[in-house]
Symmetry: C2
Subunit: 314 residues, 2 copies
């Protein structure tokens, strides 16, 4: 216990006076005797978070638990770590809200669909990284999206996450008032990812704005939802305006991710593959195996990025 | 195929001129040759939806897949249906976005956390019920929530879903403009549920407004998130105002559920148990077995409601 207290103490000093990596912005946190990360089924009292997570340098997040498990197994192979990738265990097995896998310095976490779902995960993840005294962490979202004027399968590296009216902001209601937060992502990490993509064979990647909306159908101008109150022409006009504003893909988590990571000093990137070109249609009609290959592309790019940073590739 | 076309045709006539149960509001749907319900991994071409789902009368939804599977097994026992509850299969096993179980006339579906996540599910569910020509369907959300001035474990039957400023509306961005939809729930079903609760032994239930917000921490006035920019006093003021406005619990899905079901003529109810009293704290600290028992309460109430409607209880 004494070692733990000392370690916490040293960690805190290091955070205060050195280069902090992940800093929650909440003065009440230090007053809490225990912090239950409810949706992870973890707690500062029942788990030794510094021991479990202290060496994390890359946090990779994505919507689907199955996909994030596959990524954990893939990165295990890519990093040539000992043991079988089949034996990687879900750290959050006490709950089915999120899945979490740890592979060396890489944490792979699912976040479900939509800004509220990923925001719960990010609150608890940022606190987890803080409690674990992690430093120099990069967070990377590996997602799927609808493309705007791009061939299906293109990987979009986000420079700026924008809202439904193409503004780089996330609106957050706090105690009955709405505040607005900036959603710029880390430029250095985005450029590093673009460089990585150019080093891969036949890897279609672009840097562009990503529009984040709060539903899959009406908010994205789809004509195939249960509700649709606009015409095909109005839809096309909206997508054209989005394209002209620099939007290259549409998904549902990037603005809140960018906003929260910025506030807490966590460098973040969003890498989404496009499953279709929204100028061509609304339904996702590609065969299953084609979609599986598309969904693997952000993983290939991020694996390359991680291997370069770790010195596996010079 | 001919029988299918005839059945579709008859179904459509019935919907047009008789009492329709579930009516998507989208003129483009009839023009579609195939409708892929992507996040369910179902389609009108690969699945016979009327045969699979035509007899559905109760759709029960909740955030967690594990909980909705447990509910399917529970209602199987309660309805004394043949076969083993252990053998109930996940209809959406081709995806991990949502889980879906069918038990006689009851469909049990998970929806993840937050309005965007449930909205994707509801778009595809409403189209599914329509394609399957279902009639006289009731949709019931069985959820968890934070209580406002109620003892933990109290079940709140929602009369009205309200937003962060206590207004009965859901704001939806469509092609760059924000529209507002009403969020009143079906009064008859709420009263029927309250009557059911009074017939159960020692069952703490109230009717009240449910506040739906888009995050778990700042939006709900919690002091234990990664971000917190307000004081304990400001938090308490906000919760008091909410209580005075008639709010009895806080969750993250009810407004969009109420809005979408209203527009499509689907009678809906929201039944959430409170896991804590927010006047007392923010963290969910009750022991696991207590929380499990709390989470079972909406299931007990809804099972009673279904059994009464089906004539099991007179």
């Amino acid at each position: 216990i004494m070692a733990q207290i000392l370690r916490n103490h040293m960690g805190r000093n290091h955070n205060d006076y050195n280069e902090p990596s992940v800093q929650p912005k909440n003065p009440y946190l230090v007053t809490m005797e225990e912090d239950i990360l409810y949706h992870f089924s973890l707690s500062t009292k029942t788990h030794n978070l510094p021991e479990m997570f202290g060496d994390i340098k890359f946090v990779c997040v994505g919507g689907s638990g199955i996909r994030m498990k596959a990524f954990a197994q893939f990165i295990h192979q890519e990093l040539k770590l000992p043991g079988s990738p089949e034996e990687i265990k879900n750290i959050c097995e006490g709950t089915d809200r999120y899945c979490m896998y740890k592979v060396g310095p890489v944490l792979s976490v699912s976040h479900g669909m939509g800004a509220p779902s990923i925001s719960i995960m990010l609150h608890e993840l940022i606190k987890l990284l803080h409690h674990a005294q992690c430093h120099d962490v990069v967070l990377l979202r590996l997602g799927t999206s609808g493309g705007v004027g791009l061939a299906p399968g293109t990987v979009v590296i986000t420079d700026k996450a924008v809202d439904y009216s193409f503004r780089p902001q996330f609106e957050q209601a706090i105690l009955g008032k709405v505040i607005s937060r900036s959603t710029e992502l880390d430029e250095g990490v985005a450029n590093e990812l673009l460089q990585c993509s150019s080093e891969l064979q036949n890897f279609p990647a672009v840097v562009g704005h990503t529009m984040c909306v709060h539903d899959f159908y009406e908010g994205q101008g789809r004509l195939d939802g249960a509700l649709c109150s606009f015409s095909h022409e109005e839809k096309c006009d909206y997508l054209k305006k989005a394209y002209e504003a620099g939007v290259r893909n549409i998904e549902m988590e990037s603005t809140v991710l960018a906003a929260m990571c910025r506030v807490c000093g966590l460098k973040a990137a969003v890498i989404c593959v496009t499953l279709l070109n929204r100028f061509e249609g609304d339904q996702i009609t590609s065969p299953h195996d084609v979609l599986v290959e598309y969904q693997h592309r952000p993983q290939v790019l991020v694996a390359h990025f991680i291997k370069k940073r770790l010195g596996y590739i010079v």
